[in-house]
Symmetry: C2
Subunit: 360 residues, 2 copies
DNA sequence: CACAGGCGTTGAAACGTTAAAATTAACCCC
DNA sequence: GGGGTTAATTTTAACGTTTCAACGCCTGTG
């Protein structure tokens, strides 16, 4: 029960392997008799022939200078729960929704998607080389040594949600996170809130959280409100961090002084953890604290109260990222930043402050 | 800037390619001078040699009878939103959590995981053949023609959450869904509820929903409650279906007759959609309707009220599935069903009925 | 000292595919 | 009918790896 190879098809159709290859790959530089073509296609069909991608990949390294596997890699951040368990962060629905859109689009274009985390001490570049990945899509942070390798080897690369100079010269997709931050914080300010917590994952200069933070400050400035560093609650990305921030906010409000009446969380999952934490402490949303999130994952609309958030069309973002990847793979298009529009989605987690705060 | 191959390493170390191969693969049937080994390892390191998986795969087809790619496939159901967009169903956190556990465990064992949907008219078997996947993990439903092919070609296969005779003779993992259904419905009955809606995705004899349904009926029988077919709300899996069920339940309750006071949803996302839908219609959970879910995704504990649910340890399930896959790949272990324990997690979405219902 | 046997290493072949070069067949033109 | 095109197909070689069989060398043994 050996696997059927191109030679079997060739024998069955009474023709050479090359001819079969030409026909099955629709080679344009070669003419084939319609009758031969039919015979070969029929033979392939009858034998249930499926070409070996491994052989194609190996063979391709000769001609293109670099092997082509018809597979791209998508690098997703890993959780940092513990040293041993480094799961890829699919727990955040933002990533899973993005990924399924990318997978679909790439599949339509004839590519498979390899999703894998990286083991400690092993660079993703090794995976790219070993599996002959045709391209790499990187979401969020990345080690800049890796990216220099991609540049050096001229590997089609699409950066998603990356900031910073290391990414210059690559295709990239993102939303206008600074504007988004301003939109979110501006909405809260517009509703009369003045003491607004900023809840986010790690704030790094090359990451989205920093840009959203800048937007938050932009909005404060716009409204003439002084920035207060004690209102920044940064940590990791996840429900848990939102819950921790809730504890801190509740404590701060018990401590006297002007109360924190609103919070801007830079991810919906943090916002949801926050709302849950607040409700566990007897604080109502939006009664006591208004909450606004970022992303608009499916869940955001399901929560009670519905989460007001800054919507980025995640599926669209995935589609665009895949489109850029395909351009990059085909050597078409020019590197540069593509910005996905975003908009405020008002639900029920933000209320207008009437006491003390004045409408603007 | 050609890729560095084993020959380059061989030349650098002043030794043959064969020797390099033996050393890098720790071939036990062959002895190598420690000094040669050191020289080769050093050369490989210096040249940053990364073996070509494509070449390994191709070469391996000669000896093992079947090519080995050090990659397995995980088949995840696709959404059926529309004909064109068949995204893999990572939107359900159950799948994403499961997947990230599987990915991690397989990676530790030296395997990559290919996650891909299947295009219409193309069988997944073609992907397995073309990419020389070493094994296949199938979640939920599957076309039985495919599975017969896996059997015929002796492809290591692990079934997850599959029932039905087609899966006999394979490694499989699941929870005791019938018991789980009984646990869930039994809990509601124990809390005094008698008219209990059953909300689930498609009910097929070879799927988990059917088993959970049987468990639901078991519990009814145990409590001497007659089954009422009008309380079954089946559809697809997703938030949306939960919301639709909410509308139906609200309508039924408005229609007079004995009110539906509780619902058992066979997935947490349906339960959440249901709770949201009920709350939108002014029905409180658990005040008017108690809700119990199934899975215990991260979200379940975040919702307000916290969702009472039947917990299956999703990460553990992924780990076990990966372990079985590794056994299957190594020809170890014996096919059979592995059952993951599960337990009721009580939160706040179920209340004890005092009026009318009596405690048991 | 001849020789068996083990050790360390190597050359050749094979895996399935495709690009480039070569071959054959058919046709046309003077 | 020979030379020249073009069309259709085949032969050859190569991609990077591993396995198998074979080789030369050393050592101990009879």
């Amino acid at each position: 029960m050996r696997k059927v190879s191109i030679k079997d098809v060739a024998r069955e159709a009474g023709v050479s392997a090359t001819t079969v290859s030409y026909i099955l790959n629709d080679n344009r530089n070669v003419t084939i008799t319609p009758e031969t073509r039919a015979r070969v296609l029929d033979a392939a069909d009858r034998l249930k022939y499926v070409p070996s991608q491994a052989a194609k990949t190996l063979g391709s390294s000769r001609v293109m200078g670099r092997a082509r596997s018809k597979m791209i890699g998508v690098v997703i951040p890993q959780t940092e729960d513990s040293a041993e368990n480094e799961y890829i962060m699919l727990s955040n629905p933002f990533y899973s929704a993005f990924l399924s859109a990318v997978e679909f689009e790439m599949r339509q274009a004839g590519y498979h998607v390899l999703v894998t985390g990286t083991n400690r001490g092993q660079s993703y570049v090794d995976v790219v080389k070993s599996r002959a990945l045709d391209g790499v899509m990187i979401i969020g942070m990345y080690p800049s040594e890796d990216i220099e390798e991609y540049r050096r080897f001229n590997i089609p690369t699409v950066l998603v949600d990356c900031y910073g100079s290391a990414g210059e010269g690559f295709f990239s997709v993102r939303t206008d996170d600074r504007l988004g931050g301003r939109l979110a914080a501006g909405h809260l300010l517009g509703m009369g809130h003045r003491r607004i917590a900023f809840v986010s994952g790690e704030i790094r200069e090359d990451g989205v959280n920093y840009m959203r933070f800048l937007g938050y400050r932009d909005a404060l400035e716009e409204y003439g409100v002084d920035f207060d560093g004690s209102l920044v609650f940064d940590g990791y990305v996840g429900f848990g961090h939102g819950a921790e921030a809730a504890a801190d906010i509740a404590a701060a409000n018990r401590g006297g002084g002007r109360a924190i009446t609103a919070a801007f969380a830079t991810s919906d999952i943090a916002a949801i953890g926050l709302m849950k934490g607040l409700s566990e402490r007897g604080l109502s949303v939006p009664g006591d604290v208004s909450v606004i999130g970022f992303d608009d994952i499916d869940y955001a609309g399901m929560y009670v109260p519905g989460l007001t958030t800054v919507r980025q069309n995640i599926v669209e973002k995935g589609r665009v990222a895949a489109g850029l990847m395909i351009d990059a793979l085909n050597g078409r298009g020019a590197p540069g930043e593509t910005v996905i529009p975003m908009q405020l989605v008002e639900r029920d987690s933000v209320r207008r402050l009437t006491e003390g705060g004045e409408d603007i």
